[in-house]
Symmetry: C2
Subunit: 213 residues, 2 copies
Amino acid sequence: MGLALFGRNRKRDICSVLPKGLLQQLQQENEVLLIPAGQVILDFHKYIRSIPIIISGSVKVQGEDDEGNEIMLYHIRPGESCIMSILGALNNSESKVKAITLEPTKIVTIKPEKVHSLINANPEWFDFIMSLYQTRFEELLQTVTRISFKSIEQRVMDMLQKRALLMHTKVVEITHQQIANELGTAREVVSRSMKVLAEKKQIKIFRGKVQVM
Amino acid sequence: MGLALFGRNRKRDICSVLPKGLLQQLQQENEVLLIPAGQVILDFHKYIRSIPIIISGSVKVQGEDDEGNEIMLYHIRPGESCIMSILGALNNSESKVKAITLEPTKIVTIKPEKVHSLINANPEWFDFIMSLYQTRFEELLQTVTRISFKSIEQRVMDMLQKRALLMHTKVVEITHQQIANELGTAREVVSRSMKVLAEKKQIKIFRGKVQVM
DNA sequence: GTGGTTGTGTGACATTGGTCACATTGTCAA
DNA sequence: TTGACAATGTGACCAATGTCACACAACCAC
C-alpha cells in the first residue's frame, strides 16, 4: 500500500507542490474557477465546503485577533493549497483565516468527501499535505519572529520583496494603506518608513505602486 | 483500509491527543524516558532522530529569528507530540524550533522508521497527526495576532494564565527575567507591567513566583 | 476643464516599550 | 553573621511607533 511513500526522503528545499500529473487529473475531474483579483475565497468563521487548490495566480492569507484586527500571514502559490481549508473541511471546523486573491487566479475546488478516495488512490497526496504543512508552519514561524524582532522599516522592505518575487515583477502595485493593513500598522508609519527606504535607494515610490530595486 | 477514518467527524474542541489505548501500547513497545525540568529535548538546527510523545508533564516550544532572538510559541501537553519533530523526522529536515521541559516530564520516543508501520497498523495515527497540526496551527496563529496587537501587559497576563492552567496551579514559578525571555522583551518592562497587574489585583507577586488571581 | 475621490506628505504630539544605572531585598551557604 | 548572588524595584531617558490634523497632488468621471 502506498503509505510507504509518506515518509520518503525529500530534498529540503522542495516546494510543497502537488505533482503535475495529479494536478492535471484534478483539473479534468473537478470544477475549475477563474477568480478575479481581490476576491475573498475563504473567510473567517465560515465553514469550509470545498478545498481550493491554486493552479495559477496567487493568494494571500490573513489572520485576525479577537478584536478584528487583521494581519498577513503568508502566501499561497500555484500548486499549493490552504492547509486551513483542508483541515477545516476534514474536521468540520470553521476557518480562522481569510484568503484573498492577489491577481486573477485559477483554482480547482475539491469536495471534502472526495479527499479520502484521493488519498487512497494516490499516496502522493500525503506527501503533498505533509510538506504543505511543513512549509506553512515554517513560514508562520518566520512571521512570528519577524513581527517580534524586526523594525517596521525592515518588515515593509521584506514584504515588498516577497510580493515582487511572488508577482514576478519589480513593480508592486500596492498602496501605503494596503501595506499598513498587511503589517498591522498605520499608513503614516508606512509612508515614513518608505521615505527612508527610498532615500536608501532600496525602493522607488510611485502613486499606487512601488518599485523594488 | 483504515484511511476512511482520516476525515471522520470530530467535535470542534477535541484536544489533539493520542487515544489512550495507543499510548499505552506505545509505552510498552518503545523507550520511555523521564526527563527533568528545564531540559532541552529538541534544539535548533539539529536533525531529528526520534519523535517524542509526551506522557506526562509539559514542554514549551520556542522559535528564533536569524539573529538568535528567541520567543515562546506554544506548549505541548500530555498525549501530544511536537509537529516539527514528526515532519522533521519524516523529511530529514533540521529542527527550526527548540523544545524545553517545564517540569519533570515522561516521554516515549519513537524511531522515525517506525512511523510508517504505525500508521498502517492504526489509522487513528492520522487523526492524531492531523488534529495535532490543526491545534498547533491555530495556536501559532493566535500567537501572531497577540504579538501584533496586544500590549506587553496583556501578553504577560495571558502568558501567566496559560502557564497556570498548564501546570494546574495558581502559583506559577517563574522569574521576571524568564517571562521577559519568553515574550521577547526586557526584564524591566515585565517588572513594570507586573506592578500594574498587581495593582489591578490580577496577580500577586512573590520572589521567583507569581500567583494568578 | 471641474469637482470629487483617492493616495501621499508632513509636523506635532502621545504612548509604549527598550535601555541604563543603581538601589534594595531575599536566599543560601560558608 | 556575613558575603555573594540572584531577583526585583525604580527613575531617567530615548527611540520607535501610533495618532491626529490637515495640506497637497494625482486621477477619474462628467
